[in-house]
Amino acid sequence: MAKTEKDGKSRRELITLGSAFGLMGLAAAGTGGALFKYMFPVVSYGTPQKFLIPLDDLPDVGDELIFDDMKVVLRRQTETEVAAISLVCTHLGCTVNRVETGFQCPCHGSQYDSDGLVVGGPAPKTLPWLEIKNVPGGQIEVDTGTSMPEGTFYAVV
């Protein structure tokens, strides 16, 4: 009898201590997760990844508009279809120039055709086509952090 009582007591002790340590472990894990998130600023301090363009500012049909700051060219195919192509060279990140035949990188001579496909030089990949979203209030939002297959046009309202 005395033995079971003692066992029961030590089991209770063990459970209490175990759950206390369990909670501490969980808290430590939570802290770790929070600290992981702590290391990344919520919004980057540099140029924002997404930017807005009012529909009124879109280029004419069949025309293009280059946004220097954002390193993006906006192309309007039809009245309602636009696409955005990044101007960041896939080789080492220089900004490519728009030339008659397509795009050319001034740094190491990568050449792209007008759809961004590599036609020469060291560039490994096609220039990224970017995702475009309609934003309420007559604006579109271009996300420079995305990469869509070439020829991806988006319908704008």
């Binding site: 209490t16 501490m24 929070a34 209030g137």
Partner: protein, 586 residues
């Protein structure tokens, strides 16, 4: 042991819960709720809740603006009817089809201030203690139009409130004391060229409504218009817009001028009408309103109705009592006549403008009939300074220096009533008391003196004052007992200076300007400014009077008797005072 383990468990649980609370607090941000609500109202289903950040690029600066994380509908016309903070921003420029301000590029802080980085409503709106730029709501935000737009050459559409403030700044004569670079130049009061950069809107409002609220010993008068909230708000908006630190220089400023501003026309041919406009602070034939005398000075029309400010003396009789030369000089530099006048120096006026003002003032000709009785005379000519109770606390008295005479002290009236007639007739130089001889007849003056004496002395038994005479220099008959019977010599200014520092400075100050440390505890009258040359050099202030005032004190004032001083010392002090106010000393 189990007890310890239980405590450990409970504390671990508490710690865990509090960690959760801190994480919840970090996650729970207002913009999430607002964005969900916004998309729900617009029936948009595909959306991501995220911080909407605008990096506002200006030459040399990038402002981080996250306001549209909550104010997400600001540039969406479909959100016009939404509840704040989701509502669309009302148009800024009136009468254009599409507003040129693109919030996706310029953000909100550029106009509205607050803290653009913050996401918490109180922090973002700059409500936390000590934030330098609290939110500017509604029309007040027009203060920031000039951060980008240059206003020098035009009037900005949509900045009406600001423009009104600018006009009021001139109309209300603020410019007379305060400098704003390019608008006015005066060293009378703090410069306001960077008022908006230094002070918050509320501070500016408070400083106008209650000048001593922020600077305890401010000399700024409380104007009559401060109770008109609209006026104060407009001026404060204008002042808030005065910031040295602009986002655009004049040449890179965005266009936006609709109506060209008139050139700063000056009046070049004197006329009564021009003077009237200047006096009222109203524009005259395309000139900018740069007057506003009426904000401080009242005038009476020919029916005797009084209108205007309560800060300086009434000007109905000023040409008749002072003459036009004096008035012109007084406008340009009031301190040349009255040493302690607070009137700003309007040195920018040209001759034509001064002439206009004088000719306008000359048209004021209100006068009482010759049979008027004492009370009526007093109520018309004297009451604004000397007060209804004859106690020298009339409604404009507070801003006068020296203060108007207090006749409620019957000892004073009983002792010096012989001087009254001359003072009224010829005025008291170096003070706000003008000469009335061209306005009142001798008989009226006597009536007035009689009225004052009756009112002041009634109910009091007589007051007798000792009579003394100024000791004659070298008079062997008269012995200076306190100076071991020596013969009195001519006063020595250097000895007088020493004696003055010993016996007089606590009230009259080291500089003898009447601003000694004890003067702060005195109320009325205050110690005399003894370097007020105009006052000291007039005929009535002769050595005999100074001698009597020092030896016996001045009846009915805080000036005590100094009969412990020897005659020689008093003469030395008088010599010192005189030396301060001779022509060379000036």
């Amino acid at each position: 042991m189990i007890k310890d383990y239980r405590i450990l468990f409970i504390l671990a649980l508490a710690g865990f819960v509090l960690l959760g609370a801190s994480l919840f607090k970090a996650f729970d941000q207002d913009f999430t709720k607002h964005q969900k609500n916004y998309y729900k109202q617009l029936d948009v289903e595909d959306y991501t809740v995220e911080i909407k950040q605008v990096n506002v690029k200006t030459p040399g600066k990038v402002l981080i603006d996250r306001c549209q994380s909550c104010h997400i509908g600001a540039s969406n016309p479909d959100a016009a009817g939404f509840e704040p903070p989701l509502a669309a921003h009302p148009p800024i420029v009136p009468g254009v089809e599409k507003d040129p301000h693109d919030f996706a590029k310029i953000g909100c802080v550029v106009c509205h201030d607050g803290s653009g980085r913050d996401l918490d409503i109180h922090a973002a709106h700059g409500e936390l203690h000590g934030w330098p730029a609290p939110l500017l709501k509604g029309e007040i935000a027009q203060a920031n139009c000039v951060r980008c737009h240059a206003m020098e050459d035009g009037t900005l559409a949509g900045a009406e409130h600001y423009v009104k403030g600018q006009e009021l700044f001139l109309e209300k004569a603020c410019w007379g004391c305060h400098t704003i670079a390019g608008i006015s130049s005066s060293s009378q009061a703090p410069e306001l060229t960077d008022a908006g950069g230094k002070f918050s809107f509320d501070y500016l409002v408070e400083s106008m409504v209650d000048p001593s609220a922020n600077i305890a010993n401010s000399k700024m008068p409380t104007f009559g218009w401060v109770h008109d909230e609209e006026t104060v708000a407009a001026i404060a908006t204008y002042l808030k817009g005065q910031q040295k630190d602009r986002l655009r220089s004049a040449d890179s400023a965005p266009i936006g001028y609709i109506k060209p501003k008139s050139d700063l026309a000056r009046i070049d041919s004197p006329s009564v009408a021009a003077g009237r406009s200047l006096f009222a602070g109203a524009p005259y034939e395309g000139s900018v309103a740069k007057g506003g005398c009426v904000n401080c000075h009242a005038i009476r029309n020919s029916d005797g109705d009084l209108a205007g400010g309560n800060i300086g003396p009434e000007l109905t009789w000023t040409i008749r009592s002072r003459g036009s030369k004096y008035v012109k000089e007084h406008i340009v530099n009031s301190r040349s006549h009255v040493a302690d006048s607070i009137m700003p120096t309007f040195k920018d006026y040209n001759d034509a403008e001064l002439e206009s003002l004088v000719s306008y003032l000359s048209t004021l000709d209100y006068k009482l009939g010759s049979k008027t009785d004492g009370p009526k005379l007093y109520d018309t000519y004297c009451v604004s300074c000397h007060g209804e109770d004859l106690n020298g606390e009339g409604k404009i008295a507070a801003m006068l220096d020296p203060l108007p005479r207090d006749f409620s002290k019957y000892q004073f009236v009983a002792s010096y009533d012989k001087r009254f007639k001359d003072s009224i007739r010829d005025g008291v130089k170096g003070t706000a008391m003008p000469a009335w001889k061209d306005i009142m007849s001798d008989q009226q003056i006597e009536t007035l003196v009689g009225f004052i004496k009756d009112k002041s002395l009634s109910g009091h038994d007589g007051f007798r004052r000792m009579e003394v005479t100024l000791p004659a220099i070298g008079d062997k008959e008269r012995q200076d007992y306190r100076n071991k019977g020596l013969v009195v010599e001519a006063g020595n200014p250097e000895d007088g200076h020493e004696a003055f520092q010993k016996f007089c400075t606590s009230c009259h100050g080291k500089l003898a300007n009447g601003k000694g440390p004890n003067a702060y505890d005195l109320e009325h009258p205050l110690p005399r400014n003894l370097i007020n040359a105009a006052f000291m050099n007039q005929a009535a202030v002769n050595d005999a009077r100074l001698y009597e005032s020092i030896l016996l004190g001045v009846a009915g004032t805080p000036m005590p008797a100094h009969d412990h001083l020897s005659d020689q010392t008093i003469l030395d002090i008088i010599a010192f005072i005189r030396a301060n106010t001779t022509e060379e000393a000036k």
